[in-house]
């Protein structure tokens, strides 16, 4: 029943803007709602024996709980960050009060659709959920309704829809394979035991369509072209959600299919594909990160890089898969953190060009410090969490004797590290423009930064018992994806 609570909170909160007049209290209420979701997910994970199954519609196991946890952490942080951000937008007349309220409606609908994806048991409904996330977020990408944001939203919805149609094609072929094996079901927990009876060739082709289709949504290169536009044009708290968790819901869908595929044709097929696409994503994002001029676009390309890291880790399997799951969490937290920082900077300077912004540290002391920490965290320096998940993936690569791939992986990460530090240190240091007065942030904004920072540091020092337990349980389910721990 807790699960229904988790789903119904965001759904109920889509109505909140019609009852609460004042914008700031609406924001606070929204944050409290998402805190409740986070607590509920936490409580559910601690108290319930998994898997939980009801209505023949929901099926939640450790893998789902892991994704639910990631989603609820990031949405809570984003809702906290939104309070002041939206309020400022509205009070400066940038958006109307009405539109600000619309934001909260869409925000909740978006988080609802993302929370739905890991819960449903039916592969067709997973597809529906992922299409819903696109539809819900399209308006948030085109929120400012100017030329660039509408263009980004159009590209986003068109490219993702095409991708997702290929995913549906893959799902249909899967369903055909299953119905050939004399079972009329799309519930994945019912398909897994049957997987051995499926026609290997059909399943392989279906998985290719799935990987290309959901891969588009996950931002795997070369299907990533919508991503930099959408992430840079979306309203900033939503950019954080897009980068932090939307991409991961698509990864979740790919994982579900790969479990079945592996059970049917063995791990090598998916594992090689994952490594191939992972490395391509790293190479492409590396090139674009080097030459970026705009801060949010630069962060968007960095998301493609991290998706590449995750997918490569999944390809390695074993310790690599553990690293990949941990990286999903770490990247979600750290990238949201960075988007928040970038959002504050863009708002203060009214510019987003990396060549023009100077002296963030002196103009915005709090944000500046946060960005320095974030810069090292996102580029993979110890003691922050991303370092460790990338290390796990590398260790697993080398220990399997994949020297060339692992070496390439390491080299690309090193180049990207340099690029990130170079770009961000240019804006952080230097002399601030005379006209800008140093200012501080609202309490809720500070809290959203600190909330994420705790996770970034904590996981870096020691993976919390709770998180470790879910990830290990999720790996157990992924067995088959991985070469065994």
């Amino acid at each position: 029943m807790i699960l229904l609570c988790i789903l119904s909170i965001p759904l109920l909160f889509t109505l909140a803007p019609f009852f609460v007049k004042e914008l700031r209290s609406l924001g606070r209420l929204n944050a409290i709602g998402h805190l409740a979701v986070l607590v509920a997910v936490f409580y559910f994970a601690l108290t319930t024996t998994l898997p939980v199954k009801f209505f023949d519609f929901f099926y939640v196991d450790a893998l789902s709980v892991f994704f639910l946890f990631v989603i609820s952490v990031v949405t809570f942080a984003a809702s906290l960050f939104s309070i002041d951000y939206i309020n400022e937008d509205a009070s400066s007349g940038f958006i109307s009060e009405r539109k600000a309220k619309l934001y909260y409606v869409l925000f909740n609908f978006f988080s609802f659709s993302m929370l739905l994806v890991p819960m449903v048991s039916n592969l067709g409904m997973v597809w529906v959920g992922i299409e819903l996330t696109t539809l819900a977020s399209a308006f948030l990408v085109g929120f400012y309704n100017n030329k660039t944001s509408i263009e980004a939203a159009w590209k986003y919805i068109i490219i993702c829809s095409v991708g997702i149609i290929f995913a549906l094609l893959g799902t249909t072929i899967f369903y055909y394979a299953v119905s050939q094996a004399a079972a009329k079901t799309l519930n994945w927990h019912e398909i897994v035991p049957l997987a051995k009876n499926l026609d290997a060739n059909t399943v392989k082709i279906a998985f290719l369509f799935i990987l290309v289709g959901y891969g588009t949504k996950a931002g795997i290169a070369p299907m990533h072209t919508w991503l930099p536009d959408a992430h840079s044009q979306a309203i900033s708290p939503v950019s954080a959600m897009l980068s932090g968790v939307l991409l991961k819901t698509a990864i979740y869908a790919i994982l579900r299919f790969s479990i079945i595929t592996n059970a049917c044709v063995g791990v090598d097929f998916t594992s090689n594909l994952f490594i191939l696409f992972g490395i391509i994503s790293l190479i492409i994002s590396c090139g674009f990160i080097l030459v970026q001029k705009r801060i949010k676009r630069f962060l968007a390309y960095s998301s493609i890089e991290h998706i590449g890291v995750i997918v490569t880790g999944l390809g390695f399997g074993g310790l690599g898969a553990y690293g990949a799951l941990l990286h999903i969490f770490n990247h979600a937290v750290t990238k949201s953190f960075m988007f928040f920082g970038a959002a504050r900077v863009v708002k203060k300077y009214k510019k987003d060009n990396l060549n023009v912004i100077k002296g963030v540290l002196s103009a915005m002391p709090f944000c500046g410090v946060m960005l320095v920490l974030g810069m090292f965290a996102i580029s993979g320096m110890p003691p922050f969490s991303i370092f460790f998940s990338e290390l796990f993936i590398l260790i697993s690569g080398f220990s399997q004797g994949r020297y060339f791939i692992s070496g390439l992986f390491l080299a690309l990460l090193a180049v990207i590290f340099g690029a990130i530090v170079y770009h961000l240190s240019r804006i952080l240091f230097g002399k601030k423009p005379e006209s800008l007065k140093p200012g501080s942030e609202a309490l809720s904004t500070k809290l959203s930064f600190l909330f994420l920072l705790i996770f970034m540091c904590l996981v870096g020092i020691k993976v919390p018992v709770f998180l470790n337990k879910i990830i290990l349980a999720a790996l157990e389910i992924l067995k088959g994806v991985s070469h065994g721990l």
């Binding site: 519609f57 039916n122 067709g124 409904m125 597809w127 529906v128 299409e131 819903l132 696109t134 539809l135 399209a138 308006f139 085109g142 309704n145 100017n146 030329k147 660039t148 509408i150 263009e151 980004a152 939203a153 159009w154 590209k155 919805i157 068109i158 829809s161 095409v162 149609i165 549906l168 094609l169 249909t172 072929i173 369903y175 055909y176 119905s179 009329k184 079901t185 799309l186 026609d199 060739n201 059909t202 082709i205 930099p228 536009d229 840079s232 044009q233 674009f288 030459v291 970026q292």
Partner: protein
């Protein structure tokens, strides 16, 4: 036998949609394609005695034959857009490429997939061909509305696959997919309005503010 006739008709309508030059004709082509999809669904519902398929057929008729085409026509009228499609490739070249796609789909089906039934091979190839043609239309036509239609054509291809090979998806899934498709068309329509008011055109090849 009549199933083959419907399949061939769908293929021919798809070719027709590739060579037309004006928007109303394209929307008409889509309506016709959906109509044949409706026929084939009814025919399968009858021969397989699947009552759920009748409802699916009804939804296809309601949404894809009536509502979506009228909605698209409504938009074109309202924003007073130039009815010329603006082709990147002329009809001759387009039809040549689509014929090539058809051949490739057949090649793919017969080399890669192993169907026991000949009917299934044919429908799979056809589905692939219709889906790819939809993609082709999305890439090589200028107007935003043609991209919506291209998307719908791709989806028609998929429904064809689901109906003919799997006797329809599980019922709940099928209904949700229909709902999703309908919502996405409406949202895309809203964005076409916005593009038109902001840019005073709906030529997607001129949307080039975001690069690199």
């Amino acid at each position: 036998m009549h199933n083959y006739i419907f399949l061939i008709s769908i293929l021919l309508v798809t070719y027709y949609m590739v060579i037309v030059k004006r928007l109303p004709a394209l929307v008409g082509g889509f309506r016709l394609q959906s109509l044949f999809l409706f026929f084939i669904t009814v025919s399968f519902a009858f021969s397989e005695k699947e009552s759920a398929l009748y409802i699916v057929a009804g939804l296809i008729f309601l949404l894809k034959v009536i509502l979506i085409p009228s909605f698209l026509t409504g938009i074109t009228k309202k924003i007073k857009v130039n009815e010329n499609l603006g082709l990147f490739l002329n009809p001759q070249l387009s039809i040549f490429i689509v014929l090539l796609l058809t051949y490739l789909s057949y090649l793919f089906t017969f080399k890669m997939m192993s169907f026991a039934d000949k009917m299934q091979s044919v429908t799979f190839a056809l589905t692939l061909c219709v889906t790819l043609t939809g993609l082709f239309m999305m890439i090589f036509r200028l107007k935003a509305i043609t991209q919506i239609i291209g998307l719908m054509v791709m989806e028609n291809g998929l429904f064809l696959l689901a109906v003919t090979m799997c006797k329809g998806m599980p019922f709940l899934v099928e209904i949700s997919i229909f709902l999703d498709v309908f919502i996405s068309v409406i949202i895309l329509g809203i964005f076409v309005y916005r593009i038109n008011t902001l840019f005073t055109h709906i030529d997607v090849n001129k949307l080039t503010n975001l690069r690199g």
